[in-house]
Symmetry: C3
Subunit: 350 residues, 3 copies
Amino acid sequence: MKRPLGRRELLADAGGLVLCTLAGQELLRDRGTDVEELAAGVEIPPKVRAAQAEGLDPATSRTMLAAAGGPAREYWIRAEPIKSWDVVPNGRDAMMGKKVKGKTTFAAFGYRAYSANFAEALGPASIPGPLIEAEVGDTVIVHFQNKLGAPVTIHPHGITYSDDMDGAYKGKFTDPGGFVQKNETFDYVWEAVEGTQGFWVYHDHGPMDPLPLYKGLFGPLLIRDPSEPRPTAEFFCGFHSFLPVTTGIDRAFYCINGRAYAGNTPTCKSKVGDDVAFYVYALDDDFHTFHIHGHRWRTEGDGRVVDNVPLGPGDSLTARFTEDNPGRWFYHCHVFSHLHEGMNGWYLVD
Amino acid sequence: MKRPLGRRELLADAGGLVLCTLAGQELLRDRGTDVEELAAGVEIPPKVRAAQAEGLDPATSRTMLAAAGGPAREYWIRAEPIKSWDVVPNGRDAMMGKKVKGKTTFAAFGYRAYSANFAEALGPASIPGPLIEAEVGDTVIVHFQNKLGAPVTIHPHGITYSDDMDGAYKGKFTDPGGFVQKNETFDYVWEAVEGTQGFWVYHDHGPMDPLPLYKGLFGPLLIRDPSEPRPTAEFFCGFHSFLPVTTGIDRAFYCINGRAYAGNTPTCKSKVGDDVAFYVYALDDDFHTFHIHGHRWRTEGDGRVVDNVPLGPGDSLTARFTEDNPGRWFYHCHVFSHLHEGMNGWYLVD
Amino acid sequence: MKRPLGRRELLADAGGLVLCTLAGQELLRDRGTDVEELAAGVEIPPKVRAAQAEGLDPATSRTMLAAAGGPAREYWIRAEPIKSWDVVPNGRDAMMGKKVKGKTTFAAFGYRAYSANFAEALGPASIPGPLIEAEVGDTVIVHFQNKLGAPVTIHPHGITYSDDMDGAYKGKFTDPGGFVQKNETFDYVWEAVEGTQGFWVYHDHGPMDPLPLYKGLFGPLLIRDPSEPRPTAEFFCGFHSFLPVTTGIDRAFYCINGRAYAGNTPTCKSKVGDDVAFYVYALDDDFHTFHIHGHRWRTEGDGRVVDNVPLGPGDSLTARFTEDNPGRWFYHCHVFSHLHEGMNGWYLVD
């Protein structure tokens, strides 16, 4: 049974060295991959090709129009290259009081919010993308335009939509919304019906998934219940990693909102008496936990008192509490190696 | 303190290259192991040897007889070799619209259901094994016969049993039900008392565990509450992996019910208005999540609305909802590398 | 884009070979690191230096005094070296009925309980540290003294405290309680206010975290609600690992309370009719599950019936049930490789 280990075997499935196979190519976690180059080999799915050939505007060929009955919330969002995203803009790991050595910038992807009809950018392309927000009863329309060299999409969690609006690549069954090519536009129509209220995520689910997501194509989606009081201080914290496979940098960064290390990750600020909500989600290959020093909250649903909760990829949660403890606190992932590779931030209470 | 890294150190604990030590041998995740050959070196535990020497039928030497008071549900199940199990029978990854290259068959193990007294097979040996089903109040009797060259067992979760009926190898304390040798039979008696209703799993827990399980020896166990309405559409989805250590194939497959990639994994079908239940479980070395596109459900117990939930090894859950969204949907594990190595399937709603 | 893989890349982020960077040095999971040597390069934070320069007793310079109003519970705890901690004192893996080969001892760290004013040790330094116990309304004062060659701390979960009492290193913002040097003492004052009742953990969170924790600096913290009945049998089970990085031993041990393999891990004993509580927590880089054979319990909060639950790093839970099933049972982590590397124990019911 025994034979010498080849390098392929040494690498294969070594808890992550092989990330997965994509577009016929084996991806290694630790080695840079050019997503746009890899995308060049992907065939256009038949329904997408047919729609193009007939000159259909995919945005109007959708089978379902919104039926939620409430007002429409419209977003104009572009997927754009970010020439040089700095994971550690201030160059420091404030938790450890150290400089962060080595390269911290790479060519990323970002979702970018625009004003109506893409008239003007509302800010730079960012990681994560803009908050998509609605109230129960709303129809959400996302006018999505792709400026990247690979087909990408927007796939939302939690909200209601027909299957051609799910933004998922499905091989030969792919609808136009699951394969939005460079310079094309697709209008996603989703409905925030009763029962969808809560905190969710959205992310690319196109044919190159998870690489575009791992370069930055994800964001928060919040559906508010208008009959419930709004938090007076709220924070959106996306837990994810930048791996060598998409950064080309010879180390992994464990990040919150595209940045690593306290002072670069969001510094969340509140004051005593605030009705605080942390909206937390995870979107990478790992499991994380969300922990805040000096605070506890009741979990949604069952009301158990906790100060640390697990999060798998695609999970989202709300940690809500009345602030009563001033000071300088950490919030972080309690997986120690993630904490020390950057997955921590300041929470400052006046 | 510094010294050069040896290959042993390079491999050791590299997030999985060393799986574990078993029967005195170090197992590598990435390298085939012959379970039956390895089992040859395992000693017969004293209580098992004594029962054999005295000519006792282990099935009648049990210390406890069923006391649940309800009717008995009898199952006849054999553990059998599966000469060539194909993980990807149609050869395709429908999510990515690609052929799956390389070897996809291996010599697996399966539980196989028989009619009374093993008169005739009710179907082929399968991965996972047959559904074991009961109602609250039932006594479940599983007549278990082993046709494999390694001692194996059936260990159930959730249901009630005395400790000699737990199907677990316990070193020198092992009861006959924890070490069922080739061509031997053991009758497991379990009781579906009040409080055990719900969805659970069963799996091998013999002396070679987890290798026989990793070759296919696991299955679903459902205890129904007769006072509750039955779902009108129900699906059993076991999330697990086939690793090189038990397949000898130079890659890992991330599977649902023994198959990888949509079109090979279960294609679940329902219609609008159905009372749908997905019974989902995980049984390998990894954590997974269960996600369905376009759907939400309330978690058991606390009723939180979710569309993605984490599952550790041995966990089982029911995702139940009234179907209201027709179309072609994916259900999948949201760990991206698992998703792309096959852990996804179609959910089709009319 | 392609270039040959260097050894650094081969190792980097291979699912754990690189644990993290600490004090400017890259730590490998698989290679011993001398914590005290590494600590020598860490600068004393400005607030700690200032307090020393002014001759302040950090224990009295705290900004907050306890306001819980209830009686004070005082603990005297020292962090001490444990010259030779044996992970497998009886040398056997009782689950597999095998001797455990190779080295099982290493130079560990432990928290050690003393009588008032450190007059005398109440037992040896242990892994985990002593139970810190309080009732709702109590003020907990932990007089903490460090006898190790690296600055360490005590950081509690769940209980209330001001930010200078959180025992966390915070770079230049570090308070004296977040950097307790060799031979120094710090008095932590924490308050078990209403809402903090439950089971929690404490652990080192100083500048060398997680290495001192990975050598043994963690323990259980229980806040009882005096209006609730006490369990008649209770067990504290810390799930963690000893990795080569802190042991220098060429393998990982998956442990419960500092020991690996049934017979070395806690053998928990109860009798039929007992009101049983298992207090379980996880504190390493991995996710675990807690499973007991032959038993079920209702989760805290939502009351779902389970026999296996996931635990992330920093999580803690109570599994409570009325004992009705005599026999010899296993409790264990259901991640199979952890189970087989030692994370299992006996539960004996009379």
